[in-house]
């Protein structure tokens, strides 16, 4: 962003020298990255997502100050408290537009958003669709546990029909949404699926998502041991299930094929289902700005306004 007036005054006591050049910095390990002791129930799937986020940061040599971890409300959305980096715990369902504001105004940051299925697809459903179609650069990991965890076992938009919850004692009535199909049809440019029981795969997906230039969405099955134990056993080989990866011959650029894969019955497929290259909103807006600024080249900000006001005389 232009700052055509004087630069902001430096803070007292110049500490610039304490920041080592990236090449001299040691990758951050769990020791530097762990913040609060997670408050999740022992055995909760969310632990593994957190551990792999730390791994990702370490592996890709991301620095504390360049990461923002943003979440809405839910068990999973407690995430930012457990990460030693700039973080935001926002309101229920609205983490995506908040993160969009960060992404669009701060191109220098890595924007990661974590949340639950209720946060993403129920109260935040509208934002999910629009952030996807606008292709705003960020990585969004939804820890899907098919239930409302934090509020203690109500039906979630991904709960399968028949699931007995406190709000559906006779079993869930409404058809669940399919997050992958929804993401593809909304225009998301990166759609992947993984599960907390396969750590390497989680890391792989998060890394690919981070490298995607655009809105990258990862659905990560993350078991709620408290309120939906065993939900994902059929996808866990250790529990007698199968972990099917996306077929090797699947064309990730083929939207229809991706949609069909997404439609497969549980346990379905894991991996990158869809990936399209399409300009991000970040890039589109930058283009608009470049064109607009070309026209006022050489003018200070106040002179631009003066020019406008001259036409209002």
């Amino acid at each position: 962003m232009s700052s055509s007036l004087t630069d902001a005054p430096a803070r007292a006591g110049d500490l610039t020298s304490v920041v080592l050049p990236a090449s001299d910095r040691k990758p951050l390990s769990k020791k530097e990255l762990a913040a609060d002791q997670p408050t999740w129930c022992p055995g909760c799937g969310d632990f593994s997502v957190l551990a792999l986020y730390f791994k990702l940061i370490e592996k890709r040599k991301l620095w504390h100050e360049k990461i923002t971890t943003i979440a809405g409300i839910g068990c999973s959305s407690r995430f930012p408290y457990f990460v030693q980096a700039h973080g935001v715990h926002y309101i229920h369902g609205r983490a995506l537009p908040f993160a969009s504001g960060v992404s669009l105004s701060r191109p220098d940051l890595h924007v990661f958003v974590f949340g639950g299925d209720g946060d993403a697809f129920s109260i935040g459903g509208n934002h999910f669709n629009h952030t996807a179609r606008k292709n705003i650069r960020m990585t969004y990991v939804v820890m899907d546990n098919w239930v409302y965890g934090l509020t203690k076992k109500q039906t979630s938009p991904t709960s399968p029909q028949g699931f007995k919850s406190k709000t559906d004692v006779g079993g869930a009535v409404d058809r669940p949404i399919n997050p992958l199909k929804q993401a593809i049809s909304a225009g998301a440019t990166f759609v992947a699926r993984t599960t907390h029981t396969n750590p390497n795969h989680v890391l792989q997906m998060m890394e690919a998502a981070m490298d995607h230039d655009g809105f990258s969405f990862v659905e990560c099955l993350s078991e709620c041991v408290e309120f939906y134990e065993g939900a994902f056993d059929a996808s866990n080989p250790r529990k007698g299930g199968v972990f099917n990866t996306v077929p090797a011959d699947h064309d990730v650029a083929d939207e229809i094929a991706a949609y069909k894969l997404a439609d497969a019955a549980f346990p379905g497929y894991f991996g990158i289902l869809y990936k399209a290259s399409c300009p991000t909103k970040n890039a589109n807006e930058a283009k608009i700005n470049a064109a607009a600024q070309e026209k006022v080249k050489g003018l200070k900000d106040w002179q631009i306004l003066k020019q406008t006001f001259d036409r209002l005389k």
Binding site: L15, S100, G101, S105, N289, F309, L312
Partner: protein, 607 residues
């Protein structure tokens, strides 16, 4: 007031020429006739001629058109309101004539299109009637094809002649307006203008000439309140905004969407109101105060996120361009009924700042003030404007750009440590370190809406909730104590004090001037700082027998309007009473004075 006007010209008039100090011209037609354009030209001309100007318009809320008016008041002295009654009514149709003749002063002039209007002989006694075949003369002048399109410009020519306006400046304005279009459009416009100007009114009407106005130090700019607010935000350094379209807020978002890219900024049209405030908060968190805004129902939708901003202590500017409510209400009418939601809206104890600009120029400076308060106090600031200021056009002195422009780009230099919610800081005023900042201690802040400790980590500690609630309150108490006490217009002691806020400033001041000229003891104050309230009001109130709060909202279940309710709550002073109305129109000076009289003489509340 001893003002020279059309109905009461100054003494010593020469035949055929009268000197006047001001005129109120009401143009009535259909919205598709371009009557807004005539008003706009007159306002711009007044601005260029260093005159004061204020406009008032009504537009139908349907798109396809319908009856519409534009009123412009031009004066050589201070113009405080759009004027109660008109000196001149220009009526394009029978309905325009019949519906608006009542808004004329006795002895005022009806300038009507004799192709469409059949004057009523009974009204001839009260008003001077001048008929001009505006439609057919326009067709004649431009030449058939365009039908009577262009009759607004013909009419402008008539007005120009009648008031001896500066033709060079006017044709210059017309040329600017139509430049870039097909040259035939401009030529037609100029032809229509000159035809109107050349149309002889000699036998029927004298020429009026405005008295010279005082030289202004700087050139004047002419714009609406919404424009002034948006440009003020730009001058303040805002470079990111997000919004969802709703009348009358949309103008601001459209303007920012168009203008911000020139300054390297971005405005995003979001999927809804909640996304808009959230996105703006995201950008603010990024280190540079951002803006969102809305009107009516949109404000209701934003309140959860507004509460987050209070709790998380993230700065933000929220424009509330009030319209008639509740619900979808009256989208194109004025009301000041959002004061309560602005001050209190949302759950929990959530103190925030509310400022209300008094006029168009003030919109520009209020925007800058709002940005600076938000930044300094890490708090959401609502700018409570309204449909009347938003859409009316005024002329004001061009700002000193170099002086008012500010750089608010974030500072990312490393810091030793950062407690986002440090409790040891005086008055609770803390500022966040934006993301991107390296923190030497390795302890990074979490910005949160859960009650938190000093580092931003969640807590259910009773002590911390007490302390943090107090922190959020204390910083606003500190802010309020630094604000100036409003100046009393008129003597600081007397019988009646009128209290106003927002767009009612002009008519209230004019009411005071008129009442005092008639020998009544009336003064007024204007409150720009709605929340927290400025200090010293109780001392002002003490100087008067009666305090009437004049505002455009309902008297409510307990008999007082929204600001009156706040003042009564704060000062427990039963002397504070209300003058309110909800007809969707701005206050007329005579309505205010009539209401005061009714209270004093009959002891009843009635407008």
């Amino acid at each position: 007031m001893s003002e020279a006007t059309i109905t009461a010209p100054s003494a010593g008039r020469s035949p055929g020429l009268s000197r006047i100090s001001e005129a109120v011209i009401r143009i009535a037609g259909n919205s598709q006739d371009g009557i807004q354009a005539i008003g706009g030209f007159l306002a711009r001309l007044a601005g260029r001629s260093e005159q004061e100007v204020m406009t008032f318009m009504t537009i139908p809320s349907t798109i396809s058109g319908g009856p519409s008016i534009f009123q412009v008041r031009i004066g050589s002295g201070e113009v405080l309101s759009a004027g109660d009654d008109a000196d001149v009514l220009m009526a394009f149709y029978q309905h325009s004539y019949e519906n608006h003749v009542g808004s004329l002063k006795k002895g005022g002039i009806v300038l009507y299109d004799s192709d469409h209007v059949e004057p009523n002989p009974e009204w001839h006694k009260e008003y001077r009637h001048v008929g001009v075949p505006i439609s057919s003369r326009t067709v004649e002048a431009i030449g058939g094809t365009a039908k009577d399109k262009g009759k607004n410009i013909f009419a402008l020519g008539l007005v120009a002649k009648m008031f001896d306006l500066n033709v060079t400046k006017l044709t210059q304005l017309i040329s600017e307006r139509f430049s870039g279009k097909d040259t035939s459009v401009l030529n037609n416009a100029l032809t229509a203008f000159h035809a109107g100007y050349g149309h002889s009114l000699e036998n029927t009407l004298e020429t009026f000439r405005f008295a010279e106005s005082q030289k202004k130090d700087r050139p004047q700019v002419v714009m609406s309140g919404n424009e002034a607010l948006a440009y003020g935000l730009i001058a303040a350094g805002v470079r990111f905004g997000a919004g969802y379209p709703i009348t009358p807020w949309s103008d601001i978002m459209e303007l920012l969407r168009r203008e911000l890219p020139k300054y390297g900024g971005t405005f995003v049209q979001c999927e809804d109101e909640i996304a808009s405030i959230s996105m703006a908060l995201g950008a603010s968190y990024g280190g540079r105060v951002a803006v969102t805004g809305s009107s009516g129902p949109g404000i209701s939708l934003k309140t959860e996120a507004l509460g987050w901003a209070v709790m998380a202590e993230v700065p933000l500017v929220i424009c509330d361009i009030q319209r008639g409510g509740p619900s979808t209400g009256m989208p194109t009418n004025v009301e000041q009924s959002d004061l309560n939601i602005a001050v209190f809206g949302g759950h929990g104890d959530s103190p925030r700042v509310v400022l209300a600009p008094a006029n168009v120029e003030d919109c520009f400076y209020t925007a800058i003030e709002a940005v600076n308060i938000a930044r300094e106090y890490s708090v959401p600031v609502l700018i409570l404007s309204d449909q009347a200021i938003a859409t009316r056009i005024e002329a004001f002195e061009e700002p000193n750009f170099e002086k008012v422009f500010q750089d608010i780009s974030p500072d990312f230099s490393p810091v030793p440590d950062g407690k986002p919610y440090d409790l040891s800081v005086p008055d609770g005023i803390t500022r966040h370190v934006p993301p991107g900042t390296f923190i030497q201690s390795g302890k990074y802040p979490i910005i949160t809406g859960l009650e938190h400790d000093e580092a931003g980590h969640p807590t259910a500690s009773p002590k911390l909730h007490l302390q943090m609630t107090a922190k959020r309150r204390k910083k606003l108490q500190a802010l309020g104590s630094r604000w100036p006490t409003p100046r009393v217009h008129g003597p600081s002691e007397g019988n009646v004090l009128l209290v106003g806020w927002g767009s009612t400033q002009g008519p209230i001041k004019e009411a005071v001037d008129r009442a005092r000229a008639a020998g009544d003891s009336v003064s007024s104050i204007h409150i720009r700082y709605i929340n927290p309230l400025p200090p010293g009001l109780e001392d002002i109130f003490a100087g008067f027998n009666h305090v009437f709060v004049v505002e455009l909202n309902d008297e409510g279940i307990y008999g007082h309007g929204q600001l009156a309710g706040l003042l009564r709550a704060k000062y427990c002073d039963p002397k504070i009473r209300s003058i309110t109305k909800t007809d969707g129109l701005t206050f007329k000076v005579k309505e205010i004075l009539g209401a005061v009289r009714n209270y004093l003489e009959a002891g009843v509340r009635k407008i």
